[in-house]
């Protein structure tokens, strides 16, 4: 029995994840003990304090140079982890802030007063009358965030799977809690849950096969087995395909993208914003880590497969985005296409600490995409008519006239999505394409550029509507409070900053782009 080591846990290096988890747990306690009237404000404070503390701890660890494989080989604290955690925390904070917006809808949040009540029932009306609200959404989001952080840094398949579930389950719940159009929201939640579980099952099956192939859940163990195989190649390829299915589902890549538009539309818009960036970031991070570290030696098998997925994702994403008339669906399909662009960099599988590497390109792209996404969905919550959010693109007409500053900020965000120079989106695209070209996939770059051109038309439609069309009666940009305006301002300014002065951030990412093995 002596060969079972005592479990070790490095508290300080893992403190950022702990801080988020502790804040989430305290949130549950608050739900239990604090009076109803105080809960909301306490939860918001907890979110802000928890995430800021996590960021501070992260920066402290970064300065002290804490790196290593932690928690008995389950989590790797390395350059990419630092960057991904930082990005997750920043985007998490910005998008969870939008949850707290109560000013635009008569002092109510975007969440149902009582999610358990039947839509249209008396109970619902009563809860609404009594101005109940679900302040549980904050701890739920924090739990999800902690799962994302672990998912992006896991170097062990079991940890990765647990993290995947921790990150997904709260999201299923949150998706079903919209105050308006509740049936749609509940349908979205169910769909997300069923399809998400299915994809988790694929991932689990892949995990089992990978274990069968290598006798290890650990990425280093798998890597060793790939280098000195005992079993046939077919087993490994099957395992990779099945795990890729699970990961690609979370990323929202074609052909596993069907849930994206429905869930994005059905979920409360603040939750959509949170999902759109954070889930994608964590899943791409986990994917890159698994494919580069565990099966990096097998890249000749998975590169063509992912290249095909990237190609289809880009093309289908932009073409379907073209035909959308609902802004949330449009952003949903656009997020599908962005998943494709990110995958282009994953396909390149380029490692370097001097020049643009795949990991740096992925991170920069997601950073630019993230700032734009957070701001875009915050903006969507603000454009309203008498019935609530006005999601029809046509009803966004002429907003440039009534509120040129917010419309201008949104235009910058759209230009960043489109990848027009002087915005972060352009540098992101450039990095992604450069990584793929140097990695030997120049044909994918050509396809990506063509897809980008179609994508421009998608975003241009929104700009044309806002600036060059006559206003629609009854639609206006609501006067949001700071919790919504800050994400929009930060998103727009960061998009411009990342486009004008990419040097410092890019250098940081390039220098920290090697996965610890």
């Amino acid at each position: 029995m002596n060969n079972i080591p005592t479990p070790t846990f490095e508290w300080l290096p893992l403190a950022p994840v702990m801080a988020v988890l502790v804040a989430a747990c305290l949130g549950i306690v608050v739900e239990a003990v604090a009076p109803r009237a105080r809960r909301f404000i306490l939860q918001v404070v907890l979110v802000v304090v928890g995430i800021v503390a996590a960021l501070a701890l992260l920066i402290f660890n970064f300065w002290s140079g804490n790196v290593g494989i932690l928690a008995m080989g389950a989590i790797a604290l390395d350059g990419p982890t630092y960057l991904m955690w930082a990005a997750l925390l920043v985007f998490g904070l910005l998008s969870i802030l939008v949850f707290a917006e109560r000013r635009i809808d008569n002092g109510m949040t975007a969440f149902a007063a009582s999610a358990a009540s039947v839509p249209g029932s008396l109970a619902e009306a009563e809860a609404s009358q009594a101005r109940h609200e679900h302040s549980e959404v904050f701890p739920l989001a924090l739990f999800s965030l902690s799962g994302m952080m672990v998912f992006a840094s896991a170097t062990d398949l079991v940890t990765a799977f647990v993290a995947l579930e921790v990150m997904s389950l709260p999201l299923y719940l949150l998706s079903g809690m919209a105050r308006r159009r509740r049936l749609l929201s509940q349908e979205a939640a169910l769909k997300y849950f069923l399809l998400g579980s299915l994809s988790s099952a694929f991932f689990l099956f892949g995990m089992a096969l990978a274990y069968g192939y290598s006798g290890s859940f650990d990425y280093r163990g798998i890597d060793a087995a790939v280098s000195a195989p005992i079993y046939g190649h077919g087993l490994l390829v099957t395992a990779m395909v099945l795990m890729a299915v699970g990961l690609l589902f979370k990323i929202g890549a074609v052909p596993f993208h069907n849930w994206v538009p429905d869930v994005y539309v059905g979920a409360p818009t603040p939750v959509t914003g949170f999902m759109a960036i954070s889930t994608k970031l964590a899943a791409v991070g986990a994917m890159a880590r698994f494919f580069f570290v565990a099966v990096g030696a097998e890249r000749w098998s998975w590169q063509p497969m992912l290249a095909a997925v990237a190609l289809v994702t880009m093309v289908v994403g932009v073409v379907l985005a073209l035909t959308q008339t609902d802004i949330k669906r449009l952003l949903a399909y656009s997020s599908v296409s962005h998943a494709g662009f990110v995958l282009v960099a994953v396909v390149g599988a380029l490692t370097s600490t001097d020049n643009a590497s795949s990991v740096a390109a992925i991170l920069y792209y997601l950073l630019a995409y993230g700032f734009a996404t957070v701001a875009a969905f915050a903006m969507v919550t603000l454009v309203r008519n008498a019935a609530g959010e006005a999601n029809d693109v046509a009803s966004w007409s002429g907003l440039g006239r009534s509120n040129p500053i917010l419309a201008g900020a949104f235009a910058i965000i759209m230009l960043s999505f489109a990848g027009i120079p002087l915005t972060g989106g352009f540098i992101g695209k450039w990095g992604v394409f450069a990584a793929a070209w140097v990695g030997g996939y120049s044909w994918l770059v050509v396809a990506g550029v063509i897809a980008s051109l179609v994508a421009v038309w998608v975003y241009l439609k929104v700009i044309v509507a806002m600036f060059f069309s006559a206003p629609v009666e009854g639609v206006s940009i609501a006067k949001g409070s700071l919790v919504t305006l800050i994400p929009i301002a930060v998103g727009a300014l960061a998009s411009v900053y990342l486009g004008l002065f990419p040097g410092p951030v890019m250098d940081l990412m390039t220098g920290a782009s090697i996965f610890l093995r």
């Binding site: 020049n355 063509i450 060059f468």
Partner: protein, 503 residues
């Protein structure tokens, strides 16, 4: 510490554009004009420094991981284009002084966008780093998009979108080549570099060089614009205000021919020689098609756009016949065309402001009602048809002379463009200005050119005359660029065709 003059040159209008975000309403025009004139002053200062041999090049790290630098440099061609830009912008602001806004598209927004565009264009002409050039090349589209889409005719949103999509399509094709240059500079040098000075030394495999060159060339062909991808230009000028059209045709489109010389010929000499025959044919088609379409145009603004298509054909012809005379002529043509087209657009703008229509058939007998205005129109038109004594004659002659020394037949065909130019300009003048004073003319043309309008036309006509009589002013500046380009291509000037026969 040395003052970064080139950065400053682009920064002045940018600061101006920023200052115009303040709520100053009526003062906006004056503030804008102040910054435009300040930029012009800095531009002239830079020109003096350049000609007196002061080293102006700047280089600072921008994205080391990509090998991209904030690198600005000035050569003869760049200087000519920068001067054209800084002179045209105040003239345009003066010409659009009375512009009335539409809703939120206030005159203040117009001035701010023009200054932003000026800043980005200046950096485009100065960039000595391919990625930096690409960035500004594409970024100029944004203010231009809003200038067309925000101010102008009823179909302006459509025109703006058409413009943007054509330009972006070209630009994205170029992006492929830009990324390719990164990949190959990394492969060949070991470290990536986007500096022009480094890339010139890049020994690309022949087929790769040709593919990459094509990416650049397609973007520049769309930009220039050449037949068959010129269709966005007439649509855009028809809808945009004349001032916007001046900036579009006079400055932005020049990036096309500018880029052909600086990037296609400079970086890919072998590939450029390979593609030259096709480009010559394309140029001829542009010259003749543009001229014929101009003759057939019933709208004054479309007509001028088509004349420009024809003129851009001449510029491209001069570039791709690879002679010192031709290339110098092309660069000089870029400058002259800037002034003469600006004069045409702005004078036509004055006419349209009075008549309220841009259709040729709505005018007639204007020269009796407003003689000064029609005098401006005549001079501007004659400059467009390259009348001897006016600057465009010199450049057109140089292009043809250069072409003749290599391909006499092509040169002979291109003269057809000059003949047709006389037709479209004179027909336009005859139809609109001469003849009996129509009823509409009598009602609308009550006031001749105002003080402001005279000051708009005067500098342009003065420039056309000055460069017509003393072309050496510009040609001396251009000569070093021409020599450098010729040495990069590695083709020597042909002796006269007669001499070739002798050997």
């Amino acid at each position: 510490m040395t003052i970064p003059w080139l950065t400053l040159l682009g920064l002045v209008p940018l600061v101006g554009a920023g200052a115009l975000l303040l709520p100053i309403k009526e003062l906006a025009r004056y503030l804008g004009m102040f910054f435009a004139l300040l930029t012009a002053a800095v531009g002239v200062g830079v020109a003096v420094m350049h000609t007196s041999g002061v080293a102006l090049a700047e280089q600072a790290a921008w994205m080391p991981a990509f090998g991209a630098w904030w690198a600005l440099n000035l050569d003869g061609m760049g200087l000519v284009m920068v001067l054209l830009t800084v002179i045209l912008v105040p003239v345009v602001l003066l010409a659009e002084w009375k512009l009335e806004g539409i809703g939120r598209w206030t005159p203040q927004a117009f001035v701010a966008l023009v200054l932003l565009l000026e800043s980005l264009s200046v950096y485009t002409f100065l960039a000595a780093d391919v990625l930096l050039f690409y960035l500004f090349f594409e970024a100029t589209l944004i203010p231009m998009y809003f200038l067309i889409g925000g101010f102008g005719g009823p179909q302006r949103a459509r025109a703006a979108t058409k413009f943007l999509l054509f330009s972006l399509a070209g630009g994205l094709v170029m992006l492929i080549s830009v990324i390719g240059l990164y990949a190959y500079s990394l492969r060949i040098f070991g470290t990536p570099s986007y500096l022009l000075a480094d890339l010139v030394k890049l020994a690309l495999p022949t087929d790769v060089g040709r593919w990459l060159m094509l990416g650049f060339l397609i973007a520049f062909i769309v930009k220039a614009p050449m037949v068959p991808v010129h269709t966005w230009l007439p649509t855009a000028t028809e809808q945009a205000t004349p001032g916007t059209s001046v900036l579009l045709v006079g400055i932005l489109d020049k990036i096309g021919t500018f880029g052909m010389i600086k990037f296609c010929l400079g970086l890919f000499p072998e590939a450029s020689a390979w593609v030259a025959p096709a480009m010559v044919v394309l140029a001829l088609i542009s010259i003749i098609y543009g001229a014929v379409a101009a003759i057939g145009s019933s709208d004054l603004l479309r007509l001028i756009a088509y004349t420009s298509v024809s003129h851009f054909g001449f510029m491209v012809l001069g570039i791709y016949t690879f002679t010192s005379t031709g290339i110098s002529g092309s660069i000089f043509y870029m400058l002259n065309h800037g002034f003469s087209t600006a004069a045409l657009f702005l004078v036509v703008g004055m006419l349209i402001a009075r008549r309220g229509s841009s259709r040729v058939s709505d005018f007639g007998g204007v020269d009796k009602a407003t003689p000064v205005l029609s005098g401006f129109f005549l001079v501007a038109g004659l400059s467009g048809l390259a009348l001897p004594g006016l600057s465009s004659f010199v450049s057109e002659f140089m292009v043809m002379a250069g072409t003749w020394s290599r391909q006499p037949v092509i040169a002979a065909i291109s003269t057809l463009g000059t003949v047709l130019a006389a037709v479209y300009i004179l027909l336009m003048y005859q139809r609109t200005m001469t003849g009996p004073v129509t009823e509409a003319t009598a009602t609308h043309f009550t006031a001749d050119a105002s003080f402001r309008e005279k000051w708009v036309a005067a500098p342009l006509i003065a420039a056309v005359l000055l460069l017509g009589f003393v072309p050496s002013l510009a040609l001396n500046v251009i000569a070093p660029t021409t020599q450098q380009t010729m040495s990069q291509i590695g083709i020597s000037d042909p002796v006269a065709p007669l001499g070739e026969e002798a050997k």
